[in-house]
Structure formats: C-alpha cells, structure tokens
Symmetry: C2
Subunit: 332 residues, 2 copies
Amino acid sequence: MAASSSPSPSLGPLLALVEADMAAVNRLIVERMHSPVALIPQLAAHLVAAGGKRLRPLLTLASAALCGYQGTRHQGLAACVEFIHTATLLHDDVVDESLLRRGQDSANALFGNKASVLVGDFLFSRAFELMVADGDLRVLAILSRASAVIAEGEVLQLQIQNDLSTTEAAYLEVITSKTAVLFEAAAQVGAIVAGRPEPEVQAVARYGMALGTAFQLVDDALDYSAAQETLGKTVGDDFREGKVTLPVILAYARGDDAERTFWRRTIEDLEQTDDDLGTAQGLLRQHGALADTIAAADRMRAQAEVALAPFADGPVKAALIEAVAFAVARGY
Amino acid sequence: MAASSSPSPSLGPLLALVEADMAAVNRLIVERMHSPVALIPQLAAHLVAAGGKRLRPLLTLASAALCGYQGTRHQGLAACVEFIHTATLLHDDVVDESLLRRGQDSANALFGNKASVLVGDFLFSRAFELMVADGDLRVLAILSRASAVIAEGEVLQLQIQNDLSTTEAAYLEVITSKTAVLFEAAAQVGAIVAGRPEPEVQAVARYGMALGTAFQLVDDALDYSAAQETLGKTVGDDFREGKVTLPVILAYARGDDAERTFWRRTIEDLEQTDDDLGTAQGLLRQHGALADTIAAADRMRAQAEVALAPFADGPVKAALIEAVAFAVARGY
C-alpha cells in the first residue's frame, strides 16, 4: 500500500534484507506442493499465483537473520509455516463460505469445498513431512502445538459466532489462538535454528505474538473500513457471517437500545438487508470502535518493540520494528 | 457379526490378546481429546461413544505384541493412529455429505460441517503433538507420510468420482492410498517401537497393507450388499455419490449397452430415481461383480498370511491371520 519512497512504514526493508531467502522459500513452496494427483498442483498453483504477503515465512527468515543464522534450514521451515497457514486458509474459506481470498476467487469457489478440505489436509500433512525431514524435535513440538491451538481458536470462534455477549477477553483468546500463535511459532523457529539461548527465543516469540495480534486486530477493523480493492477479500464478510469482533463488541457496548436491537437482528439473528452493512459502518465510526481497535493494535506494536530490546540495534531489528508499524498503519 | 462360539473368523482372539493395552488406548483417546474449547470434547464424546472397530490402533498393538514389545509407547502411538483416522473420517463425512457414520448420525449432521472440519484439524494436530512427545523421528516420518498419502488418495478419489472410465488400477491406487497406507503405517509403528530389524518391520507393513486393501474392497462391496443395521452407515452411499468402486467398474465392463446407459445416467450424471439402487444391486449380482470384489479381497487375505511367514507361529500370529479372514468374511 505505502509506496517505498513515502515515509509510511512498509515491509520493504524487511523483504529486502531476506530477499534471497524468500526467493528460495517461494521455490520450495512450489516444489513441495507437487503431487502426482493432478488436482493438488492445480489448486496449489492457484494459491501460489494468488500470492499473499507471506508474512509468516518472512517472520521465520527475519528472526533467523536477527539471530545471525547462516544456514538454510530456516528456508524449509519457513515453507512449512506457510503450508500450515495455507491449509488453515483453505479450511477457513470452507467454514466461512468465502468467495474471495487474497483478491481472487477463493479456492472453494473455484474447486469446490471438497477439494479445499482435502488439499488443506494434504498441505498440512506435507508441512509435517517437511518438518520431520528437518528432524528437530523442538521445532516439531512448537509447530505441532501451534497447529492444535489454531484449530482450537477456530472452533472457539465458531462457538462465539452470533453471540453478542462475547467479552473482549474471549475475543482476544480467539485471535491469539487462531492467528497470533502461528506468528509466535514462526518467529521462535528462526531463533531455534540459529541456536540462540532461551531468553532470545522467548523474546522473538513475544515479538511474533504481539505482531500477530496487532495484525488480526487491524484485519478485523479493515473488514468494515477497507476499500474492496485494497482488502483482497470481500468487505463486510465478518458482518455477514455474524462474527463478533472487537469493533462490534465495542459498538454494541456503547450503543443505545435501538442500536443494540440492530446488532442483535444483524449479528445474532443474521437477518440483514442491503443497507445494514452501511448502517453498521456508521455506528462503528460514530462510537470510535474502529479507532479504538486500531489503538489496541498500536499497543501491541509497542509491546513488539519492547520484546526486541535484548537484541542489538541494526538493520534487521529496525526492519522488524517497521514491519509491525506497517501492520498497524494498514488500519488508518 | 460372527458370535465368538461359531466357527466363523472373528476379531475376538486378537482383541483378547491386547485387551489391557486397548483399554489403555481408549483411556488415552478420551484424555487427549480434551480441550478447554467446549465444542471439541462435545464432538469428541460423540465420536468416542460411536465407538467403531478401532481396527487401526488394534493393529499397532497387535504388531507390537507379535514383535514381543514390553513397553507402553505403542499405546500412545495407537491413540495417534486412531486420531489420524478419526480426523479423516470427520473430513470424509463433510466431503461426502454423509448423514450416518458408525450407525449413528454423523458428526457433520449433528454439529455442522464447520465444526467437523475444524475438530478434524484439531485431532490431526493433536495426533502430531502426541507423536512429537513420543519423540521417534522414524515413527514421525512414517505417520506424516501416511497422512499426506491419505489426503492424496482422497483427492484422487474426488477426481475419479462420476468417471466410469476409471480403471481397476486407478481404483486400487485410491483404496491403497486412502485406506491401506494407514493400516500399513499402524502395523509398522508396532514393530519399530519393539526395535525389530528392518525385514520384520517390512513384513508387518506388508501384512497391514494387504489387510487394509482387503478391508476396503469388502467395504465397497458391502456398500451395495449389506443390511442397513449391520453396515453402520447408509447403504448405497457410494452409489448416490457416484463413487466408482470395483463392483461398479466390473459391472460396467460386463454390461450391455442398456446397462451402460443406466450406469452413465446414475453414476456419471447422478440422475437417480428411488428404484435405481435396487437395479444397480441386481446388475452387480447378475455379473458377479460383488463376488469378484470379495474374491479380490480374499487374494489380499492370502498375501497378508504370506507376509507373516518370517514370524514364529503362536497365538498373536494366529489371531492376526484370523483377523484378516474376518475382514473378508464380513463380505459374505
């Protein structure tokens, strides 16, 4: 979004620092999606072409760079992290019945739910095969735990869907589990392959957790505020599905009786007319719910910066700090 | 089906030999399905209550017993194998839109497709967490490869669905991948924890592969021939979904033009009336398609028996030979 020449924070510096590694990761992703079963590479090619920010593998590469790692193991593990993420995206789109993903028709819209479920399973299994080939039980423990927590977070999200009594704490648990834990694991893995002592592994883990939480908070704000073309998914998806995200929790808490009736009808009963998304957007702005969601993300940005304190200043650390500023700035 | 007092082959002797181990596995399955997210143990309790034959964990336990293993690692790994299987069942039912599983309402019918996809992901991740806790990279390699092959087999099955030009070879590849590979892996793992030399590990792997193939062949025959109450799933599911299984491949190959028109309408175009399942069953019997499918399973039974030749005769070996005879006898 922000041009690299502007003063707005960007992912550019971080991407530049790990450019060669990321090219290797992209090659690995294509190679390792291969299967003799034609539908798998077909669907995979669609996903690869759709691209996406590859934030999670970027985090593994950047964390390894921050820790002075010189080998190539981080490339394979970054590909694993992206496979786990892609598998969860495929299953999310089935669960959410989304028609757009990364600005293109979603895989389930093009290939059907059945293929999305099964190719998701394949990518997830392939991720584990690749981790096993890497052979580090500590890495395996971190990524298998992260996968289980992601699934728990997704189920929890399903449980609280359409429930306006959801607390901010329950919402935070959902986004921590479904999103931030994989950022945390992605960052941890980079420090582990570099053989860093535990306090540094924990420091990058905290950075990853804070970045992931900020990222999801901003995503949940953008679902109401973004322009369709910049979001890369359908604006208002969360609203149409009755997802109870922080903006809605805040607006509901701050609304009068008539507004609460509106939220109950649209979010709990899913009775929506064409005008309702616009009305919801108006209420969110009126009550400062989007601004406060971004403010919560900005507090995470500050935590992420603090987490990196144990590391000496340098270009990678500066780029990591800019990356989390970028994640938050997307929301404005 | 066969009472233990009848001369029909049964799983009874094998179950009796590993009874204490299986009780431990059942406890582990319940324990390790636990999650603070309420919907997960709820759905899990439904699956556990539905029971099922637990054939795959039984195979891990029996293989370890055949190899003289004295420890308890096989119990945890047997639970992992069952978790992988349960995860694939949950996703299968979503893919197949099945309403019955193990004689009860399927999880997706009761809890919805979303919960089935996500709880399947959870069980799959939990299986990997438990394997990682066991800490044997060779076991991890076998089970992660098996998981990837299962997913490939399921996608291949989706590809050939409604396609009457499917060859017997393609069909065999599907059932080998989607079913037999997990039987193979389950058996292998038992020999590996027992620390047996490679030829014995490969021997139990061949046994598991042959048993799994026989099991699926018979399942595909039973889908047309079983009584509803003994099958534990909906009779005619494969037909209604247009699955091209061996009975259909054989009847189509042996049918006249009118019959082929019938198969194309029902299997390829999925235009079916209430009488069509009965007509299909009649054609399968008339052409010996069910009998020949069972005969193919019986050849697998013979291969399974040969595979066990390296092992000394004894009660476990005899019970394993009877188990594969049982798997085939279900079909008569």
